[in-house]
Structure formats: structure tokens, C-alpha cells
Amino acid sequence: MSITRRSVLKGGAAVTATAAAGFPHIFVKNLNQAWGAPAWVKEGEPIKVGVLFSQTGNLAVVENDSTNVVLYAIEEINKNGGVMGTPIEPVVVDAKSDIKVYSEKISELILRDRVVSVFGGYTSASRRAVMPIVFARDHLFYYPTCYEGRECMQNVICTGPLANQHSYDLIPFMVENFGPKVYLIGSNYIWPKESNKNAKVWLERVGGEVVGEDYVPLGGSEFTPIFNKVRQQEPDFIFSTVVGDSDIALHKQFKQEGFNVDTMPIAALTTGEIEIRAMGAEFGAGHFLSAPYFQTLDNPTNQKFVENYLGSKYGTGGVTHYNMEETYLSVYAWKYGLEKAIEQAGWDGVTPRLIRDVSGGIRIEDDISPEGLIWIDPDNFNAWLKPKIGQCQSDGQFKIVKAADEHVAPDPFSIYPERGVCKADGLHTEDGKVLKNVL
Amino acid sequence: MGMLELHGVTKAYDDFTVVESFSFDVIEGELRCLLGPNGAGKSTTMDLITGRQKLSGGKIVFDGRDITGMKEHEIARLGVGRKFQVPAVFRELTVRENLEVADNRSPNPFANMRWFGRSGDSRNFDQIVDLVGLGPRLGTQAGFLSHGETQWLEIGMVLMQNPKLLLMDEPTAGMTEHEKHKTSEIFGRLKGNHTLVVVEHDMSFVREIADVVTVMHLGKLLAEGPMKEIEVNSRVREVYLGSEGNGHDA
């Protein structure tokens, strides 16, 4: 422990100069400040936040949009007066699509740039790679996309759907409209497996049946052996959790293998506007997607968002999509959290952890949120949201065929109740212990 | 009992026999020359003795032990040193380092990791350097030696192994007359102390050094005996004169 403190001491490059600023406060919120580190935010001085996505390499295809939309949101907030009159200053770094760089860059942001929070990541691998330093410095990380859940962390806020929310409506809808037999195809990693487990829970409730389950390597593009089995099993629909390039290959080969989209469509969790654009709309048309957001959502906030974003210098990609919108929301979730923290502890008392702690229950109303109202769960700090089902049309856009009637609660341990309950201070196990940072 | 005995050694590929039931004996202290026109199977015989190629039939006994089928390094450790036709030295090491590597007193890699000594203090380093006349070149990288020097270095390396039997494949190939002369001096000094088998084309050189000559032709033994007898042997003359004129190097 003493080692940790010493390095922190040395870490503040301007330790002596700023020690006085943090020290006079009686209500010390954080060890760092007790030892004389400077305040995280100051009124009137630009508030630094980290933006940690890949701008180069293969992940850049998606994460470039993430960087852009964070910058867009910050610009929008700054234009409207910033955070209580103080502007936000994004510190943008490039993770180069290399997991090793994610872990290097997050420490640069936290230790050297002293950002107050970090937005970043699109893959679970990158989230896990950055976690250790976030935990060790009791910092705050916004993970703005869907993931598998089953983690209970005290330094993360997530604005995307968990596995238990994602297929909430999708599975019953597909079984009702196409039949009970489903073939599960996923990329070979944790999120698809967890999603499939959740899908099976729903299948059981509505009387569906799994006739096959297969996983392809990430980046794999050979689906003929799997389609060979699909042909043998004759499912009523395919439930796909295939991601990235493989997803494109899946849809292309589906058509080339002569399958009929009308009688056996693919119901996916990831095939959004951006993927459809990459494969060509003729391969995507007719298939289904479950997501909290679609570009075609018909409400004034979304129309404004699409119009303004695509009209801005950031909207070069030509479409908006669910991952982008979830990232956009995370910036607002952070803004509201910070404002609440400042109200509670004053500018000097704000710490990353405090922002997280006060973020429980924060609502992003439908005048800001293109997908409609969402709020942050006060226990597990994931988002309550309404998943929607869209069917891809021949122009590459989705037609909303169903929207959830009410908000679905995020529940990271929904299928592992024996593990305990995730609360704000950690995972409460059955034997009464509280485990911090379970991942 | 001979130092080296070949008993009916045969080497055949699918449809082609290179060496056919070839036998010969070399006794200790002897310098034996192995002659024969191109393709007679001389180098193959060397390969078979040193384990570089596997026998198709027959057996090889060295110093009373059957070495048929042994690996190259095992045979070398028993005391068979070999110089190659195309001189093979370690081109990126210095002359000194080449000789140190050749000093194979311990084969064990772990023992050698603890060995930092210079071979300068080894049994006969200076003697050998002196013999092959490379004293001034010890620090030179072997890749920069002249052709003749490379040949001598390899001879020196074989000697550093302190072998009981030395196999020399065309030691004078590509040498100038002057270099050949020096080489034959080296052989003169080796003779008697070592057992040698020399493959050679150059008749004058053979005449200078050889005790007994064995002549191979098409993989078989053609003739064996002192040089004087061999030179008048009609079958040898037929084979040689037919293919190589007056028997001197072309």
C-alpha cells in the first residue's frame, strides 16, 4: 500500500504547486486528495475527459464513429453552456486496434492527463484490458455499447443493452411469426455464448427449440459447413450473434446458398446500419435486428439528432446506428452525473468515483435521447431501456416492427441468481459477503 | 586388426548403385590414398564412413567397433575427423574461433556453457597453428581467407579434433602449385603420427605422400597396392587414361 501512495505522490507532476488547492477541504472524499493531489475539476477550467477508441486499424471502422459521436456530443454540450458553465475538453487518444495499446493509453489518460472520466471501448476484450488501472485508481470508465453482463464493477457505467435485455422481445417475436425451431450461430467468444444462453431462457418460455448451435472464429468467413448443418436441421429462423466481418460473410453466403429470407430469416443482435452498408443492402434485406436504437426511429429528437449529426463535420459515415447512439448517451449520462456530484460535494470535492456513485437513477429524457427515455440503474449502473425490433429494407434502413411496451431492467446476473445480487457497493453473495469488482 | 575396415559396403538408390560391395582395410599409422575417376564413389564412401549417408548393405568397423548406422557426431566423437571436398569452415567466425570450436573435448552443451577458456592453452593448439601456418591470421574472419588458407584451416580443424583417423577429401583441390607444395609438407609431417585416408585426383601429389593406394571404379574396388604397382596396373591405366589422359590433373 505504501508503494501505491508513493507513486501517486510522484505522479502529480505539480504536486507541490497544487497541494494547497486540495488540502483545505475538511470533507476529504478521496485518498488521493488526502495526500495532496490536485482537484479533478475546477470551475471555469476546461474539464478533461478521455476518449479512448481506435482511430486506426481494423476496429477503427466502428470506433471512429464512436470517437466522432463523443466529440459531437461534447461540442453540443459546450455550445449549450458546458457543465454548469464550464466547458469540456476531450483528450482523444488512438488505441490502434491493439488490446495492448488500450491498456497503455488508459493509464496515460488517468495518470498523466488526469482526465476525470474515460469513454472507450467497443469490444469486451478492450474493456477488460483497461479495467485493472481503472480499479486501482478508483476511476470511472463509460462503456457505451452492449455486453454480456455477469460482471459487477464499481467503476463502470454502461449505456448499452445487456444480454438479458437484448433478446427480450426478439425471441418471442420470431417464434410467434416464423416458428419454434431456431439455429444459433455466433462468433466464438463470450458475448455470443452468453447471449445464446439468455435466448434459450426466452425460448423455453415461449416454447421454442434449439435445433443447432455453432460458433465461428472471430473474423472467420467460411459458413458453408454450418449452412450444411442448417439445411439438415431445417430451422424456422436463425439467431445470429456473429460480429464484424464474419457477420457480413454470413449474410452474403446465406443468400448464395439459396436460403429464402422470407421463410428462414436471420434474427441478429449486431447487424445494424453500418454492417448492412458494408455488405450491400440486397444481402441484408428481410433480416431482423434487435437494438434500442435505429436511424429510422420516428421521433423529433432522433430526427434532429440524425439531421444535425450527419450535417456536422463528424457525420461523414452517412448513417447513425445503435452503437453510436449509445455512445452519444453515455456523454450525457456523464454530464448529468458530474453536475449531480458538483451539487453534492462542490467542484473541489468531485472524484471519478463520486460521479459514479451519484449516477444511479440518472435519467436521460426523450428530449435528449434519440431512442427515448433511459435511466441508469442505481444498483448495477447499466441502463434501463426499450429494445426494439427492426426489419432491414431494400434501401439498407430498418423498419421498426415492434418496440418494447415498457423499459427492460438490466440484470447482469439474471441467469446466475446463485452468484448473488449486484449492488452499488459490490456483488452481495448468498453467504453475506460483498465482493468488489467482480469480472 | 585394421583401424578402419569396410566389409562389403553397398550404397544404392532406387535404381542406381553408387558403391557396390566395397571392402578395404586401413591399418594404424598408414596414409592411404583413395583414387578413382569422377563418379567412382569416393566421396560417397567418405559419406558412408562418417555417417552422412546410410548404408544399403555391408558394415563398417572403426577401431574395433561397429559404427554402421551411427550418427555423424557419434562417429566423429569416436575419433574420425573429416575434411570436405568443398572446404567447410565457419565463415563468420575467426580462425581462432574455428579452431576452438573444433576442439571438441566436451560434447555437453551445459559443460561448454561454463567453459570460457581460450584454446590457446589446449593440448596442441600452438602446434597445429604452426603446422598449418595460420599464426598471423588467427584474428581474421574465416570468410576472408584465401582458398588455400581455407583448406589449411579445415585441416587444422580436423587436427584439433585429435582424431584417430583423418579423412581428407581432395585437400589440394583448387590450390596453386605453391600451395600444393606446402600442403604436401603438412601431410609429410602428419604421416606416421596419424592414420589418414586421402581422396585425391592429383597424381603427383599422391606420388609424394601415399603409402598404399586404393583405386575405385564405378563403385567397386579396382586395384590396391603401392603407388608403383598401381601406376603400371593395366586396368587402372585403362580406366584412367581413358578418362583423364596421362593421369595428371587436367
Binding site: N58, N188, P225, N228, Q232, A278 | Y13, S43
Partner: protein
Amino acid sequence: MSVHDFWTPFALEPFLNALIVGLSIASIWLVAALGLTIIYGTMGVINMAHGEFIMLGAYSTYVLQSYLGFPFLLCLPAAFFIVAGFGWVIEKVLIRHLYQRPLDTLLATWGVSLVLIQGVRLVFGGEPQYVGVPTWLDSAMQIGFINLAWLRVFIIVVSGLMVLLTWWILFRTVTGVRIRAVMQNKEMAASFGINANQVYSITFAYGAGVAGVAGALFGAFKSLFPDMGSGYIVEAFLVVVVGGGQLIGSVFSAGLMGEMGSVFSYFTNDTFARFVLFTLIVVFLRFRPQGLISEAMTRR
């Protein structure tokens, strides 16, 4: 996880279909490895940029199709010539100077692959692109219980034709005689007045061009992105090495590996199939380092 979940139960018709799928996978491996076979077999050069030649072929098709309106079928020969041109330049500028250092060619071509990936990313961006195919390739063939996409049939046919063409060039033309002469003994060939350097240039360009055709084909069933080639390099090498660097050897090894891959992934999953396959190959190479088929070793 029970055994039942893991293993698909056996049934004859799908299994036969799996064998046919294996043929289709094999044709992809073969076409991916063909260029490498030519380059490695003839020149002994380990070309790590091979995957990027495939990628260049795919992007050539994309450019020709999207910007110049070429029909898909015409893109195949065009991709051949474009990538062959690339290969020719790379041979002249770089590979030529490294023939004495085979391991260094491996490294230098790795550098080339980095440059090509990033160059393409700079020009075309990182987002995936796609190549359209004629509608008659966008459906499946059905004969009895046999199902195969027409595109796959097309790839099988094209790869077969390319093997035949290569065989014809190697064994029935003057150029082929020269190539084989240089392959067996460079010095000897030179003494017969064959310009070995020129032969190497032609061979490398031809091998690159074949990789270009492979890329043009692959674009049809998957998306194009700058590092799409890196996924092929290991497999392609294994095909070549197992095949002993010979044309016919690569045909056999691709066939074998394709069928094994398909049958494995019929019973278990794809990733595990890869592991089994790679391990088997390493063990195989241990016992037959010269590959499935090799010419009698000549020694001095």
C-alpha cells in the same frame, strides 16, 4: 458440456454434403496457395506478402467494378495483370537483392505486407467494401441431396483451370522449361544461356497474379478490408509446405486439408478443427519435412 452437445450425430446425406463442402473449402485453399506454391517451389522465396497480394486482387476487382463498371468475369484476368505488375516491381526492387539470404526475404516481404495493408487503408479507408457478383452466381445448385452455391462451383472450376494452366505453362511451354531448369540448377541453367533473373521476375509476377485472381474470387463471398490477407498466410503456407512446394503436391494437400477441415467442423466446431489441423501438420512435417511429394534429393 455433454458429449452430445459437442458432437453432431452422424447422418449419411449431410456427411456426403460435408465432403462436397470440403471440396469447396479445398478449392479456396488451393487457389489461395497456388501463387505461393509457384513462388516458393520455383524460387525458394518465402513470400509473407502473399496474403496482401490476395487483398490487392480483391481491391482491384472492387475498383474496376465500382469505378470503371467492369463486369465481374472481366475483373478476374484484370486482377491477374494488376497484381502481377505489382509483384514484378517488388521482385525487381526488393526480392532480387535478397536471394542469398532466404530468411531475410521472409522478413522483407513481411515489411512489404505492412506497407500494402496500410497503403490500401489510406487510399480506400478501413471500412469493409464489397464486390458484386452476377446474379447467376448468387444462388445455389441442387442436384438430389447435394447442395452447393454456384459461386463455390465457380471457384472450384476456376481453381481447377488455374492449376491446369500453370501445369501447362510449366510443362508444355518454353518458358516452363526455363523455369524448371532454373529451379533445378541455377548455374547450369545460366550456362545454357537462360537468364535466371528474368525467369525469377516472370515467376514471381505470375505467382502474384494468381494470388490476385484468388483475391478477386474471395471478394465475392466475404467483405474486403485492408488486412483480409493476413488470415490466409498461415494456411496457405501449410498447404505449400505439406505439398512439398510442388504443384501437384499443393493440389493434394489442399484437398486433404479442406476435407479434414470440413469433416472436423461437421463433427465439432471450427476453431477446434483449426487447432487439430495445425497440430497434425506440425507433427506431419516432423516426419516428412520434405512434404507430401518431393523430388529425389540431390546431394553432393
